[in-house]
């Protein structure tokens, strides 16, 4: 801070504001830490056992968080660009059903390895269809993202149920179920896969031109167009990436529960949006980070798992997550009123 800046505010209040702004920026971390401390104390008092320092609990929370994190990754990019993707839940179900069916039928002929590979490739390939259509609707035909992806929500839902003949498809492929439940050096495979996808998305958003354009489109689409950026192409890719993470999520779900369910992602749509918002993104676009979304998803996972662990009626989860969303948005707005802040990266 230099002299020029401190002349704008009285020095004392400037320091206060900066502290407040820093707290607001770190709110997701603070939420998470407070939550962990509260649950730890609660668990010690009520049951005399630890909540946090148990490998089982940590692993369970991590596995719990994988589903909202993966949906949230694509959702983060789309929301930063000023859009929203309501279709991810059923795109996930669509991929879950396809991966189960392909793994079964191809696996029966060519073995579980080929079955798994075919299931993954075809399911992810298939999710590119709704993703591309979403992107074209929003980028080329200028349909409001809320409406366009709501339409795709219905289409993907219907397609998933039709492909599954209205029921859940059981999986007979040991490789696929290992993918959902196996561990490598003690770490669940689903967590490792999510970790790799997280790294790739973080890199793409924070370090590449593509990521910079995602922020720029959310900040000022016109200016980005005028700067010569191919806004349409970037937008279409964003929605395809969102569908891709939903597809990965669907495949992991199928592996974990040994069943491809059309409704696999139904309760996760709002969790994914909540994770993004709790993580500090604005629904108006232009801000947000991958790390924020992960913290947001962890908060949701800790609340959901922790309340079950502490034997609280499950319905309290909804109330707790809802309150965190509201408080998070309130803090965000007061921070915006303070103005400034660092560039979101």
């Amino acid at each position: 801070m230099t002299a020029a800046a401190s002349t704008r505010h009285p020095p004392g209040s400037a320091r206060g504001r900066r502290t407040l702004a820093a707290l607001a920026a770190a709110r997701a971390w603070i939420f998470l830490i407070v939550l962990l401390i509260v649950f730890e104390i609660w668990s010690q008092i009520a049951y005399g056992s630890t909540f946090l320092f148990s490998a089982f609990n940590i692993r369970s929370i991590a596995v719990f968080a994988v589903a909202p994190v993966l949906l949230g990754l694509g959702q983060t990019l789309v929301i930063i660009s000023g859009g929203i993707d309501l279709s991810v839940g059923f795109t996930m179900g669509f991929a879950a059903v396809i991966s189960a069916q392909v793994a079964n039928s191809l696996g029966a002929v060519a073995g579980p390895g080929i079955g798994l590979l075919g299931g993954v490739v075809i399911a992810l390939g298939a999710t590119m269809i709704p993703g591309w259509i979403n992107g074209v609707l929003v980028a080329r035909l200028r349909v409001p993202p809320f409406i366009g992806t709501l339409g795709m929500y219905g289409v993907a839902r219907g397609a998933a149920y039709l492909l599954a003949n209205g029921t859940t498809v059981p999986v007979q492929n040991s490789w696929l179920t290992w993918l959902g439940n196996g561990r490598i050096i003690g770490i669940p495979a689903v967590v490792l896969i999510a970790g790799i996808v997280i790294l790739i998305f973080h890199y793409a958003l924070a370090e590449t031109q593509f990521g910079q354009y995602t922020y720029a489109i959310g900040g000022n689409r016109q200016a980005t167009l005028r700067a010569g950026v191919n806004v349409r192409r970037v937008t279409i890719i964003l929605y395809m990436l969102s569908a891709l993470t939903a597809g990965i999520d669907g495949i992991l779900y199928t592996g974990r529960f040994a069943a491809g369910a059309p409704q696999a992602g139904e309760p996760l749509l709002l969790d994914s949006i909540a994770a993004v918002v709790i993580g500090g993104a604005s629904l108006f676009g232009g801000s947000g980070t991958i790390i924020g979304t992960i913290i947001g998803a962890l908060i949701i996972a800790v609340i959901q798992y922790g309340l079950v662990f502490l034997n609280v009626e499950p319905f309290w989860q909804f109330i707790a997550v809802g309150l965190v969303i509201i408080v998070s948005v309130l803090v965000d707005q007061s921070q915006r009123r303070l103005g400034g802040g660092r560039q979101d990266e």
Binding site: E207, Q212, Y215, A216, A223, R226, G340, G341, Q343
Partner: protein, 245 residues
């Protein structure tokens, strides 16, 4: 004074049956500020959009630095050195000055084998571009929404200078600014002039036009209604040309 950077001859533009521009002849010298005056619908913005490559003329020729040119998009005009500064549409508020100055043309470095954008260098280069305009920012890592209106204009202009613009089109650069900020923008335009850029300045404010321009070209219903040197004309005459009495 014969170093004409930009010239149009007989530019016409029709949208269906609507004649937006009819045979517009126009010239701009290096180091000259020309104001485009005219009522709403006179063709000012159609004309600047043709120069900046947004529209293609239906007829006529654009000559830039003595050569006939045809721009198939704003990107081509920008690459050649014709830059447009828009009051509201210029900047992505959530990016810092480096992100804005280099938007679409980011500086890249390598991290191991992965390409990454070099934010630090972009900030430093952007700060240099703005210092040329005598504007100094205390912090470079903040989103430009934290800047004042005049500073934001400076970022947009700094971007143009950094990319070697020779012609700058400024569409209502002082609208929506407070009086001190308006003065700052006027100073910016004067400093562009001394740097040898040609500036096309669109404004509704006659006082601003008279304050910074060398020449005023008046458009009315798509044709050039008149052209006057500042110093040999009073505002009333410009208004008469604009309304056609």
């Amino acid at each position: 004074m014969s170093d004409i950077v930009l010239e149009t001859r007989g530019i016409s533009k029709r949208f269906g049956g609507v004649h937006a521009l009819e045979r517009v002849d126009f010239s701009l010298r290096a180091g000259e500020v020309v104001a485009l005056a005219g009522d709403n619908g006179a063709g000012k913005s159609t004309f600047t959009k043709i120069i900046s490559g947004v529209f293609q003329p239906s007829e006529g020729e654009i000559r830039y630095c003595g050569q006939p040119v045809s721009f198939d998009g704003p990107q081509a005009a920008r690459a050649a050195g014709i830059e447009t500064i828009y009051q509201d549409l210029a900047l992505a508020d959530n990016l810092d000055i480096g992100g804005n100055v280099f938007l679409g043309r980011e500086i890249k470095s390598k991290f191991l084998f992965l390409p990454r954008i070099d934010r630090k260098r972009m900030r430093e280069e952007a700060a240099k571009a703005i210092q040329v305009l005598d504007v100094h920012l205390d912090r470079l890592d903040r989103p430009v929404r934290a800047l004042s209106g005049g500073q934001r204009q400076a970022v947009a202009i700094g971007r143009a200078i950094h990319w070697d613009a020779r012609v700058l089109i400024m569409d209502e650069p002082t609208a929506a600014l407070g009086v001190p900020e308006q003065r700052k923008v006027m100073d910016l335009i004067r400093s562009l002039k001394t740097k040898g850029l040609g500036v096309i300045f669109i404004s509704h404010n006659l006082a601003d036009m008279f304050a910074v321009s060398d020449r005023i070209v008046v458009l009315r219903r798509g044709v050039v209604a008149g052209e006057r040197q500042v110093g040999h004309v009073d505002p009333e005459e410009i208004v008469r040309l604009m309304v056609g009495q």
